[in-house]
Amino acid sequence: MPVPYTKLVIEHFKHPHNVGEIKNADVKATEGSPACGDMLTLYLKVDPKTREIKDIKFQSFGCASNIATGSIITDIAKGKKIEDAAKITWKDAADALGGLPPVKVHCSVLAADALHSAVEIYMEKNGLIKEHKPTTKEIIMAKLKHVMNPLTGIDIVKSSLIKDILIKDGIITITVDLPEDHQFAGNIKEEIIERLEYLWDVKKVKVNFSE
């Protein structure tokens, strides 16, 4: 009887490649939210001269397709130049797995997102980005779209939790429309900070709660 996963997906799910943590990683990136039950953390070790990915590992707190995509995308990225790794898409991974069910897009896409974030952070940290754009409200909103609201299962922007964004002297202040003692307040705060603090012109990220 068929599970809606291809044999290859099940194979990667049961025996995932490149699993674990890189202790002295150059960069670590996390996508997803533990409260929603889908999260992937990616570690990169990059050769500073050739800019090739020497080692790549992932940890998953996610569904079978999340795990399988993490496994295959790390296979694909390994050995590639960091700029080329940035070009690997979710679709490349899905194709390599022989297809993924449409309902599973949002959780498997996390692996690709994590890879892209990791590359971006690496390039930022190592001064590889030539032109710096100043951080605007739009950029912040785009970043915050990756933070989930566990109450609704959709992100905090779409579910209208962002009440206010203030940018002043490199300090970003985000006001979230939740009481401070809400069961998810801590998680959301942590994730917002993680999403924004590495930006080149950001000194500090403050998260306030309404009420």
Binding site: M1, P2, V3, P4, C63
Partner: protein, 388 residues
Amino acid sequence: MKVYLDNAASTRVDKRVVDAMIPFFTEKYAVPSSQFAHAYGIEAKDAVDGARTLISKKLGGKFPEEIIFTSGGTESNNLAAIGVAFANAEKGKHLITMQTEHNSVLNPFKRLEKEGFEVTYLPVDKDGIVNIDTLRKSIRDDTTLVSIQYGNHETGTVQNIKDIAKVVKEKGALFHTDAAIAWPYLPIDAYKWGIDLITLSPHKFHGPKGIGILFVKKGTKIEKIMNGGYNEFNLRPGTENVPAIIGAKKAIEIFSQKDVAYIASLKKRLLNDIKTNIKDIEINGSMEHSSPHILNLTFKYVEGEAVSLRLDFEGIAVITGSACYSRNLQASYILMAMGREHEQAHGSIRFSLSKYNTEEEIDYTVQKTEEVIKSLRELSPLGKEDRE
């Protein structure tokens, strides 16, 4: 001899349909919505999706998600009328239907009237047919929905829904047809004809009871009338009745137009022989535009329930257009709308056929009907002047 001629009420479930259903009771019983948890659910989901694809195609639809499974024709009609009226209330609050619709269409419209909607109930002519010009004139800018039955459940009269749909489309309203009686005995082509919503009832064509279908053309604005889970594309909550869906699919698969031709020949035989042998009868409904399996006749000077009970004594199952002479007029509002007198409405008998009926059964029915009518007319004080 036992002769079942009440197929417009419900039909015998085809053995092949039952056989297709049984495994889904005892083996493949999982809930299709829990697909990612286990393979059983996936098999159920595949089966249900397969049913949607087939049914949508047969109706001239384009997408499997245009098929919504409900608990029956009544719920489908409720969902179509109330769901479309409320979802489009911003555009307008005028609705149109027909006086001879099934109660499961009329009653939701009556409820909508209480909720501030305005409803036009179109009249029909003596054959039960609605006038398309009258319809055209009735459609206003604020008309959101027109609901016209395809085949009538009591008389078998068939409306020209192809032309009706065209008029409704020109005027920019949505069109629903209750095809519970007519389909699959008569063709339908949702996209080509321009029909937005279609009600079907599988137990009328050898499928199981407890399952109904509402075709909802993609993009049609409609809202749910029951609240709960997200089943049926978030339009109808509740655990999917998988065995019944599979049964409905099978019934549609095996339905054959050859059977329709055969049923039509039986109907012709029945009518001709009754006409030859029994005087003072009247045909209710159109002869030209009629469902092949329904024949409704009035036997003058006698009452319908008496006729049908006497026929039941002889093993023949038919129904009367009126349950009783006096208070309970509900069922004969259709004949009254066609301009019949009470007396005529009361003697009406509906014969409805299926592929399981035989020529012998028809001959037996004619013979027994003749005897019963003769006997009851002897009892009757009416019509003596005409007969003596």
